[in-house]
């Protein structure tokens, strides 16, 4: 291996991190997504208390808990700052798990697909329970997704993602298109019995990229760091309207 290659590999985690930052902020600056699934006036009228389901983070157990904690903390801080009441996953999670387990699971064990009838039944009971005990209007559902993409090379100057060139020290990673893996963070605000009111997704960082004739997989400890999660949550909730006071009789009654 040449000294240049060694240098690149040694620097790659830092540079990939920088690229991810550029990617997230670039995405945020240019994002024109519309996350509302209902008219904004309706959203503001309906949503006052948000229950947070335990975030679904596709990492190993210990890391998963850590990142789920980051996600929930970032969500809670933002929701409260905008004036929403928050019910944490320590309350919402057990309710969901209790009903889901009582109904013997929500997924078809053979196909892995959700059983729609069981899901609908569980949702209706979760909705009623959380409305009864905590006046929860929506559930914040977050999950990660790893996906593959092929950033196109432009003018032979190397692969790009959303306009940002992938490079090491200013040199292109490759002067040809390459397949890379990235992780995104997804958020949906769902009424407990199923209606989606707000949905957004943001790519966070590269997890696997082709470097020096092989694939470089980002160490799990670097994936979804606190700063990355904070940045992603800021993007996901960038268009969330501040809460309005709840009309006294306008409770959610699923």
């Amino acid at each position: 291996m040449t000294s240049r290659s060694q240098h690149i590999l040694a620097s790659s985690p830092v540079l990939l991190l920088l690229l991810a930052v550029a990617c997230v902020w670039g995405c945020a600056a240019r994002s024109e997504f519309e996350p509302y699934r209902v008219p904004r006036e309706e959203f503001r009228r309906l949503v006052h208390t948000i229950g947070i389901l335990p975030p679904g983070i596709a990492l190993s157990k210990a890391r998963r808990r850590e990142v789920a904690g980051y996600v929930e903390a970032a969500l809670t801080e933002t929701f409260r700052r905008l004036g929403y009441e928050v019910v944490g996953s320590d309350v919402v999670g057990p309710v969901w798990r209790r009903y889901a387990s009582q109904i013997s699971g929500l997924f078809n064990p053979l196909t892995g697909n959700p059983d729609e009838k069981k899901l609908e039944t569980t949702r209706s009971y979760v909705a009623r329970e959380l409305a009864r005990t905590h006046n929860v209007d929506v559930l914040a559902v977050t999950w990660t997704n790893v996906y593959r993409l092929l950033p196109p090379a432009i003018e032979q100057r190397g692969p790009r993602f959303k306009g940002e060139m992938l490079d090491f020290y200013g040199q292109p990673l490759l002067d040809m298109p390459q397949l890379v893996e990235a992780v995104s963070l997804n958020l949906e605000l769902l009424e407990p019995d199923g209606r989606s009111l707000y949905a957004a997704s943001v790519p966070v960082q590269w997890t696997k990229v082709y470097v020096a004739r092989s694939y470089y997989t980002r160490p799990e400890g670097e994936v979804l760091s606190l700063s990355r999660v904070d940045a992603a949550i800021r993007v996901l909730l960038a268009k969330l309207e501040p809460a309005v006071p709840r009309a006294s009789s306008a409770a959610n009654n699923p």
Partner: protein
């Protein structure tokens, strides 16, 4: 048709020979369209958004079968399916698969009215309008998506539900061009022609063609409600598309012409229609409750109870309506409705469940125990059996 967007006219419609007998694609381009239609149908099946009630499907197809002879089409040329969609939608794919939403079925109150919709759609199919437009009018798909984004944005997606409007969700996918003509509507003249021919088909089938006026009036009523609720900015998107108001006016003119000609009226078949679509009406009401469309839900429930005043399911739906209200929540009225259901049928399990859950919510655990136990006895295989059993254990243990 009913998530109506106009088509801005392009080239005049080419002269294409209509289908007759047993329709088949006549050239490679049309064959490709049929294959895409079949692929879209399979997607709908996979998404479990087609109503699985075979009796309902059989009934809808019996209406289609009455209409086909007018178009000189053989039986089974067109197959009708109900979609689990609470909004007003109906469309026919170029291969003859006709879809009507539960919302539309619930909106009408006679067989003749739905026959008007079917007649209109079959007219498009028989004349191969989609094929003609597909080839000779290359309207940008993106424009359609932008227009329908208004309706999709207003629907909430309904993750657990097919999604109002399912048809519009699908328009975001790869079958946009296929659905485009069916949903947006064709050029104004083609739509008027389909209305006219459809009405003739309805009359030829022995139905009261004047019900087409009633159908339009009921569509207009719901369209205005959607506007009032701000689910759409306006019901009509393009200037060229004949608005429902215009179509209603034309139907009234045809009605007058028929009355002057002394045309005899035909069947309306209200009661059989209401009987066959009763479950759909309550399902659509329940979905509208989830959408917070309380007015529409109440209208559907009231119509159901007016037709079936002794059926307990209607009173359970009414109880749910009172219970789920926001500003006008009335738990006493909800309890009364559930009790009324039990007065008509003391073994109606859903009424026991709802009354038991309501009592639990109100802290009346004796009442909750009584009715939840009765529910479990009446429906030992209920999907929520373990959940309700868990609640009973909690109540027995002293915690709510």
């Amino acid at each position: 048709m009913l998530a109506i967007v106009a088509f801005v006219g392009g080239c005049p419609r080419p002269d294409i020979e209509p289908f007759a007998g047993s329709p088949q694609p006549r050239d490679p381009e049309e064959r490709k369209i049929w294959e895409e239609s079949q692929a879209l149908f399979e997607i709908l099946q996979k998404r479990s958004v087609i109503n699985a009630d075979t009796e309902l499907q059989s009934y809808l197809n019996s209406i289609v079968t009455r209409l086909l002879p007018f178009f000189r089409l053989e039986p089974n040329s067109v197959a009708a399916y109900a979609l689990r969609d609470p909004f007003l939608n109906a469309f026919i794919l170029p291969n003859g698969k006709l879809f009507v939403s539960e919302g539309l079925l619930a909106q009408f109150d006679s067989e003749a009215q739905i026959a008007c919709v079917f007649g209109h759609e079959i007219a498009h199919f028989a004349k191969r309008d989609a094929y003609a437009q597909q080839i000779y009018n290359q309207r940008a798909v993106q424009t359609v998506r932008q227009v329908f984004a208004v309706l999709v944005a207003g629907s909430g997606g309904l993750v657990a539900l097919p999604g109002p409007s399912l048809v519009l969700e699908l328009l975001g996918g790869p079958h946009t061009s296929l659905l485009m003509w069916q949903i947006r509507g064709f050029a104004r003249d083609l739509e008027y022609e389909a209305d006219r021919v459809g009405q003739q088909a309805v009359h030829a089938a022995g139905y009261d063609a004047l019900e087409c006026v009633g159908a339009m009036e009921r569509l207009l009523q719901e369209e205005q409600q959607l506007v009032d609720e701000k689910l759409v900015s306006e019901p009509y998107f393009y200037g060229n598309h004949p608005a429902t108001v215009d179509r209603l006016q034309r139907f009234r003119e045809w009605q007058q012409a028929q009355e002057q000609a002394g045309s005899s009226t035909g069947q309306r078949n209200e009661l059989p229609y209401r009987e066959r679509t009763a479950a759909v009406v309550l399902q659509t009401a329940a979905t509208n409750l989830k959408l917070r469309r309380f007015q529409r839900a109440r209208r559907l429930i009231d119509e159901y109870l007016a037709t079936f005043p002794t059926r307990p399911a209607g009173y359970v739906a009414l109880g749910d309506w009172y219970r789920r209200q926001a500003e006008h929540r009335n738990l006493d009225a909800a309890a009364e409705a559930y009790k009324r259901a039990l007065a008509f049928d003391s073994k109606f399990a859903p009424a026991h469940r709802e009354l038991g859950l309501l009592c639990r919510e109100r802290g009346d655990f004796r009442c909750a125990r009584e009715h939840l136990r009765e529910y479990l006895d009446l429906d030992p295989h209920a999907m929520d059996h373990a959940i309700v059993q868990g609640m009973l254990s909690e109540i027995a243990g002293g915690s709510p």
